[in-house]
């Protein structure tokens, strides 16, 4: 394929291609209409206002998810893994919804509750979604999804994150958030944070055009900038320029007084493009993929609220950028919902229904297209309520399965290996574009998910006692300062979450510096030597292992019995009991230790730095 | 008309057309010699501005000096050579050519009786030559490129300044290093950019022989981007002690040349990202008391023997002659 491209390219090498980025996505043969499931304007009722949608009025989604998944498994003759144990579930749901492992008391509490109460899982899900820590979790998730860890200082990070937090705390809909971001110009101070998406991409035309497609529509049109995509038949140059046309009149304006950068916009200018392969020329009005083009209203050409010059930020009477925000979030734009539903599914399930998350097209359809459409449509009906979507996914059997695909009993280990091998193969095949086996591999058991840098930081701090120790100290400080009022405030979970977020930020940043690659939301995993060295020798984690007051090491050293100590150690770090082999090994280390403190530190570290801790499973 | 530097004004603008480098008036005041990036030298009639130009070195010329009678001009080239030319010849042909240094010859000067010519270069050496181009002495001791040389008028000592901000005082007869003046702020090392920067761009002595002055630059926050300001250092000749630093605050540039005028005023030419200036200092004060902004950045300067005219070379291909008196009616 690339040979063909190469020869083909020789013919056009004298043509100028400013982006020669030919991502060749392995496409399935066959001509499928672009974005086949979104032709034209379907008859869709207008989007409900988020506030008017009551969750209890909505039909439950999770039974429909399971119906589709179960049918697909049945059709493939594969049986699903066992439901996750309560221990497996509690660690997983804490990580997914509030971004850290449960404390040992929280684990115990849930295990007791679950033994007696059939609604324990649902109640825990609701409690976690209501907790202030869910706000923090989603702040990280949305930041990574939208800003893709690119930094930038035009809008300070703190202001942007505060805006995200408030949006999540208010349970703003995804369409509200997207609308704010895509229409932002950064001119007014209080409305400036969402302009980060544009301003900290320097509003570079090719970057923002591409990222509007990637982040909000799940399509990467970069390769279609210079020509219709050579390998993806449905990525057309006019798709790229359709998005570009919403933005091409906007420009970066630096305010003379504040020196701040913001967006101005002109009231005229059309987009034209030439294929570097065929030299065909084209032009397009603003349009989102295959939705109809949007003509400028009559008589708006050249009409300004504020005419642009060197010192005046241009504000047109009719803003195409504003139109982008409206068109993007309009109810008929199901691609907008498919993208976010896919991303939330990936967050919970460990793998997008479409992978990579930003390469959805006819040749790379969803592993389960019906399921994706279901999620997208129902999300729209909910008023684009992400919290509701996460709740429904969390309630599904598909989510609540064990991550061990097959119970491995000693007697049938050989069979298990065979099955595992076939599943591995299926997973590999899926990478080459065959969707059916991937669907099976995806839905048969829960996938393991690498902890994000932030999940890892908060989990390590939770386990080693850093979080609780910091909380206790800050609470005491407040009570001392403000007496009863202080003590009361210190019990407020909102205060606690916010205070901890600030107090422990530098630790989280250190983890992020090591563990975050650049780029946006991904579901793959890889690891570097630097990260391992950070865990092995880094002073941060080593310091937390010291037996100071309130540390896990200190707590464990109070336990004299080696068996009890090993049990507690496993429960605290991994949220489970050791098996017989593990218990024996740990007791033997403790029993033979000259330096018990060192032995306990070593054992804690061994669990903390193991793969079992590194992943959500 | 008497010297009045506050009335300094541009008298002539003579065009050569290619970016200019250095210039020097001939001691009798008949001619001004200059050099250009096109490797040529120019000789200007100091009154009429009439010029000749000729191919001289295989590279740029950064400095000139004259034998005392003014009949021989010596050019210092970036082609490693110094060349002796007849000053007034209709068509100058080299009288003597000397392969003087390994690397650029950055500077040249002649002693009071014309018996010795000193040159300094990128090989970190200072060399003394006889008027017929024979090597007399080689003075080693600089650790970086030699940027400037200056004979004390008494003839006993030679001063040479380098990129490190050091000025060595050599005893001419013995070649011994007598002492070193350290103008520390005229050098800096920028670790981020990995560059040494600054240097003693020019050296001179006051008419009463009491004050040694040198110029260059400081505040080099971004050497590669020309963010720096001119700075002079004054030393007491007798004691060798630093008397004062004279920063030209707020002017972005490099002090390229320094001279004392007949009333004791120090005249400094500055060129750089802030444009071209003539800066006027009093030896007893830190700040310049007057300046004249020139039309284009300055690259070289020379004061006419009459003490009233000053020539500057410019990037825009012009020589500008400024007069430091009231304008003629």
């Amino acid at each position: 394929m690339s040979r063909w491209l190469h020869q083909r390219a020789d013919d056009v090498c004298s043509l100028r291609c400013s982006v020669t980025a030919l991502c060749v996505v392995v496409a399935l043969a066959g001509k499928v209409a672009a974005f086949a499931d979104a032709p034209g304007r379907p008859d869709v009722p207008p989007l409900p206002e988020p506030a008017t949608v009551k969750q209890q009025d909505l039909p439950l989604l999770h039974p429909q998810i399971d119906a589709l998944v179960d049918a697909s498994l049945a059709a493939s003759g594969v049986s699903a893994a066992e439901p996750a144990s309560d221990g497996e579930f509690v660690r997983r749901i804490y990580l997914d919804l509030i971004g850290r492992v449960p404390g040992v008391d929280e684990t115990r509490e849930f295990l007791v509750d679950a033994a007696a109460n059939t609604d324990a899982r649902t109640q825990l899900i609701d409690r976690l979604l209501d907790s202030p820590e869910h706000v923090r979790r989603m702040q990280y998730v949305l930041d990574e999804m939208i800003m893709e860890r690119r930094g930038g200082a035009n809008v300070p990070d703190a202001e942007w994150k505060a805006w995200l937090r408030q949006s999540v705390a208010d349970n703003r809909s995804w369409s509200w958030i997207a609308n704010e971001i895509l229409s932002a110009d950064g001119a007014e101070t209080e409305k400036r944070p969402p302009a980060k998406f544009y301003l900290d991409r320097d509003f570079a035309s090719e970057v923002v055009t591409r990222d509007v497609g990637r982040v909000f529509l799940g399509v990467d049109l970069e390769c279609a900038q210079c020509h219709d995509h050579p390998n993806i038949e449905t990525y057309l140059q006019r798709h790229y320029y359709g998005i570009n046309a919403f933005l091409s009149r906007s420009y970066v304006f630096t305010d003379a007084k504040s020196k701040k950068k913001m967006l101005g916009e002109k009231a005229e200018g059309e987009v034209k493009f030439t294929s570097v392969f065929t030299s065909e020329e084209g032009g397009t009005a603003p349009r989102l993929l295959d939705l109809p083009p949007i003509a400028d209203p009559e008589g708006t050409a050249g009409e300004y609220v504020a005419k642009p010059d060197k010192t005046t930020r241009g504000v047109p009477k009719y803003s195409r950028r504003q139109q982008l925000a409206e068109q993007m979030t309009a109810p008929e734009n199901l691609d907008f919902r498919r993208n976010i539903a896919n991303r939330i599914w990936a967050l919970m399930a460990g793998r997008g229904l479409v992978e990579p998350l930003d390469v959805r097209h006819a040749g790379n359809p969803a592993a389960h297209p019906e399921l994706l459409s279901l999620l997208a449509e129902r999300l729209r009906d909910s008023g684009d309520d992400l919290r509701w979507l996460m709740r429904e996914i969390a309630l599904s059997n598909a989510y609540q399965r064990s991550s061990s695909p097959i119970e491995v009993e000693a007697s049938d280990a050989a069979d298990a290996q065979v099955v595992q091998a076939s599943l591995d193969e299926a997973a590999e095949t899926s990478d080459e574009g065959s969707s059916e086996p991937a669907a099976v591999a995806d839905f048969q058991a829960a996938r393991i998910k690498p902890l994000s840098p932030e999940q890892l930081a908060w989990s390590v701090m939770q386990v080693l006692g850093v979080t609780d120790r910091t909380l206790a100290a800050k609470q005491a400080e407040l009570a001392k300062k403000d007496g009863d009022a202080g003590a009361k405030k210190a019990d407020d979970p909102v205060w606690q979450e916010q205070m901890l977020g600030e107090a422990l930020k530098s630790n989280v940043d250190q983890f992020a510096a090591q563990f975050a690659g650049q780029g946006g939301q991904k579901t793959g995993f890889d690891a570097t030597a630097n990260q391992a060295l950070f865990l092995i020798n880094g002073s941060l984690v080593q310091g937390w292992l010291e037996p100071i007051s309130g540390s896990l090491t200190e707590r464990l050293l109070k336990i004299e019995d080696n068996g009890q100590l090993a049990d507690e150690l496993f429960l605290c770090v991994l949220g489970r009991q050791p098996n017989a082999e593990e218990a024996a090994e740990f007791q033997s280390v403790l029993g033979g230790a000259d330096d018990r403190t060192q032995a306990v530190k070593d054992l804690i570290w061994a669990l903390l730095a193991s793969a079992e801790f590194r992943f959500n499973h | 008309m008497a010297l009045d530097v506050t009335k300094t004004h541009v008298l002539h603008e003579w065009k050569y057309g290619k970016p200019m480098i250095a210039c020097r008036y001939e001691p009798q005041g008949r001619f001004l010699f200059s050099s250009s990036e096109d490797y040529s030298l120019q000789r200007w009639n100091a009154e009429s501005g009439e010029k000749i130009a000729w191919e001289a070195h295989d590279s740029w010329v950064r400095d000139f000096a004259f034998l005392p009678d003014g009949e021989t001009v010596i050019s210092a080239g970036c082609d490693d050579r110094i060349i002796f030319w007849p000053t007034a010849a209709e068509k100058p042909e080299p009288k003597v050519e000397v392969a003087a240094h390994k690397g650029w010859v950055r500077c040249v000067d002649v002693n009071g009786d014309g018996s010795l010519i000193a040159s300094g270069g990128n090989d970190r050496l200072v060399k003394l030559w006889s008027p017929d181009g024979k090597l007399v002495k080689e003075l080693a001791g600089h650790e970086r490129d030699v940027y400037s040389v200056f004979f004390h008028p008494d003839g006993r000592f030679l001063l040479s300044g380098d990129l490190d901000g050091k000025v060595h005082q050599w005893e001419v007869a013995t070649g011994k290093l007598a002492r070193t003046f350290e103008a520390k702020d005229l050098h800096s090392y920028n670790g981020g950019q990995g560059v040494h920067y600054g240097g003693i761009r020019d050296i001179t002595l006051s008419a009463d022989k009491k004050t040694l002055a040198m110029t260059g630059l400081h505040k080099a926050s971004n050497p590669l981007g020309a963010v720096n300001e001119p700075l002079n250092y004054l030393f007491d000749w007798e004691s060798g002690k630093e008397v004062r630093k004279q920063p030209a605050d707020g002017i972005k540039g490099i002090g390229t040349n320094i001279d004392f005028l007949s009333d004791g005023t120090e005249l400094v030419a500055s060129g750089g990202s802030g444009g071209g200036y003539l800066l006027f200092f009093k030896a007893g004060e830190e700040k310049h008391f007057h300046n004249l902004k020139l039309k284009d950045t300055v690259r070289g300067m020379s004061v006419h023997p009459d003490g009233l005219r000053v020539a500057t070379t410019h990037y825009d291909g012009h020589i500008r002659i400024s007069k430091m008196t009231e304008k003629a009616a």
């Binding site: 394929m1 690339s2 040979r3 491209l5 083909r8 390219a9 056009v12 090498c13 291609c17 400013s18 982006v19 020669t20 980025a21 030919l22 060749v24 996505v25 392995v26 990579p356 390469v359 991550s403 061990s404 491995v408 595992q420 990478d431 996938r447 690659g517 995993f525 890889d526 690891a527 570097t528 030597a529 630097n530 990260q531 391992a532 060295l533 092995i536 020798n537 080593q542 593990e582 090994e585 060192q598 730095a609 193991s610 793969a611 079992e612 992943f615 | 990036e37 590279s59 740029w60 490693d80 690397g103 990128n122 670790g191 981020g192 950019q193 990995g194 040494h196 590669l224 750089g272 990037y315």
Partner: protein, 419 residues
């Protein structure tokens, strides 16, 4: 286009000004090799040495001199060990080794922006998320269990880039702060070797057990391999700790660039796949000539000592040496004797593995203002580097969900440069 035939013959003119040191006699004697060098040669591994002249070295003051022309500046051209090939007088040591190095003089990058130029040179693409040369090399040239991270960059400045793009994180550039060891390489004082070994064994067993019952072994394998690489890297700590020998310091220079090149040699000898050394200080908007004197004066001898050592140990045949910048500098000399950013007529030099030595590809017009012949860009260079290393740059990276051409399919290797 001249190709050298007689190897050690140095054009007499090179030393006409007598300020060049005598050419060091290259002695390739097996007995003189250190065990690391011998193993590096025998392993068959191919590798890259990148000497990156950050800021944009002037092509006039290096590989494409134009003395005596409108924009030529004060420096002259000198002859080299390749008859007919001249380079700037600021590179006298390189001139003596020109029969080992080739030049491309006809690069048009069409950008004058540091970031864009650097990314283009590194990725072979003008835009988009693509891995750097070093990351691609790390992926395809590193042995299965490499003793060192595949792509190491010795520098003290510069941006943290997403060098591996869509390739696995272990192929990302590991940045070394000058000659300092990587962060966290030293075991804390309180952790004894024995205890460290024990806790690592326990950790590893737990991970293996987890791998056995999880559905995605590949994730766990990747995680575990990062610990194995960390372990191997820790055992390489002496490479960073050892003071360079007096002889090395004398030859390479006591300045930071000398130290960094000594470390680069050690890293290459000990199994690194791509080592990039950045030499700063070429963004000469002012005093271009003074700064090039200073910077290239430091660069030339040091780089040649490194080249000699690679040559003498026999490693040069398997080491691609790239000498490059993000772009070049303007023909026009500005008011401050500076030269500004210039992408339209840029030169690079290369040698070693797979590169035909002593070649000059392309040319610029007499005043150096544009490419006159054989225009290429960084996309073509990218193909050339990998073809030289024996990697089919027209093949694809295969990553989950898509395949991506290694080199830009609209570009092609520069065949004249390939051995």
């Amino acid at each position: 286009m001249a190709r050298n035939i007689g190897c050690n013959v140095i054009d007499h003119a090179v030393s006409r000004r007598g300020f060049l040191g005598a050419a060091s006699a290259a002695a390739t004697v097996g007995g003189l090799l250190t065990p690391a060098q011998a193993e590096a040669v025998q392993s068959g591994q191919k590798r890259i040495l990148q000497l990156f002249l950050q800021g944009g070295v002037s092509q006039f003051e290096s590989w494409d001199p134009k003395p005596g022309t409108k924009y030529g500046g004060p420096f002259r051209a000198i002859s080299t060990s390749v008859p007919g090939t001249q380079i700037c007088e600021l590179l006298p040591h390189t001139a003596q080794r020109m029969h080992q190095v080739s030049i491309v003089r006809s690069i048009n990058l069409k950008t004058n922006d540091h970031g864009q130029g650097r990314l283009f040179m590194e990725k072979g693409r003008r835009a988009g998320e693509f891995p750097y040369i070093g990351s691609v090399a790390a992926k395809y040239l590193s042995p299965k269990n490499p003793p060192l991270p595949g792509y190491l960059h010795i520098t003290t400045r510069g941006l943290t880039d997403n060098t591996n793009a869509f390739l696995e994180a272990q192929h990302a550039q590991m940045r070394l702060e000058g000659v300092q060891a990587p962060a966290n390489l030293a075991r804390p004082d309180k952790v004894a070797d024995e205890a460290a070994r024990r806790r690592e064994e326990i950790r590893s067993r737990l991970s293996q057990r987890f791998a056995g019952r999880s559905g995605q072994k590949a994730f766990v394998e990747s995680f575990e391999s990062s610990f194995e690489l960390a372990d191997r890297l820790m055992s390489q700590k002496p490479l960073f700790d050892a003071e360079p020998s007096a002889k090395d310091v004398e030859r390479y220079g006591s300045h930071p660039f000398g130290q960094r090149c000594i470390l680069a040699r050690k890293l290459l000898e000990n199994g690194a796949t791509c080592v990039k050394v950045t030499h700063h200080g070429y963004d000469t908007h002012a005093e271009n000539f003074n700064f090039h004197l200073e910077q290239l004066g430091e660069y030339d001898k040091t780089a040649c000592m490194l080249l000699d050592d690679l040559h003498d140990s026999g490693m040069l045949d398997s080491t691609l040496v790239m000498i490059y910048s993000e772009f070049g500098r303007t023909p026009k000399v500005n008011q401050r004797y500076g030269r500004d950013h210039w992408g339209a007529s840029v030169s690079v030099a290369a040698g070693g593995c797979g590169i035909k030595p002593g070649v000059v590809v392309g040319s610029t017009n007499p005043e150096g203002t544009e490419v006159a012949d054989r225009e290429v860009d960084a996309g073509d260079l990218f193909h050339t580097w990998f073809q030289a290393l024996g990697i089919d740059s027209t093949a694809d990276h295969t990553i989950p969900g898509k395949t991506i051409p290694i080199g830009d399919p609209t570009k092609a290797p520069i065949e004249e440069l390939l051995a």
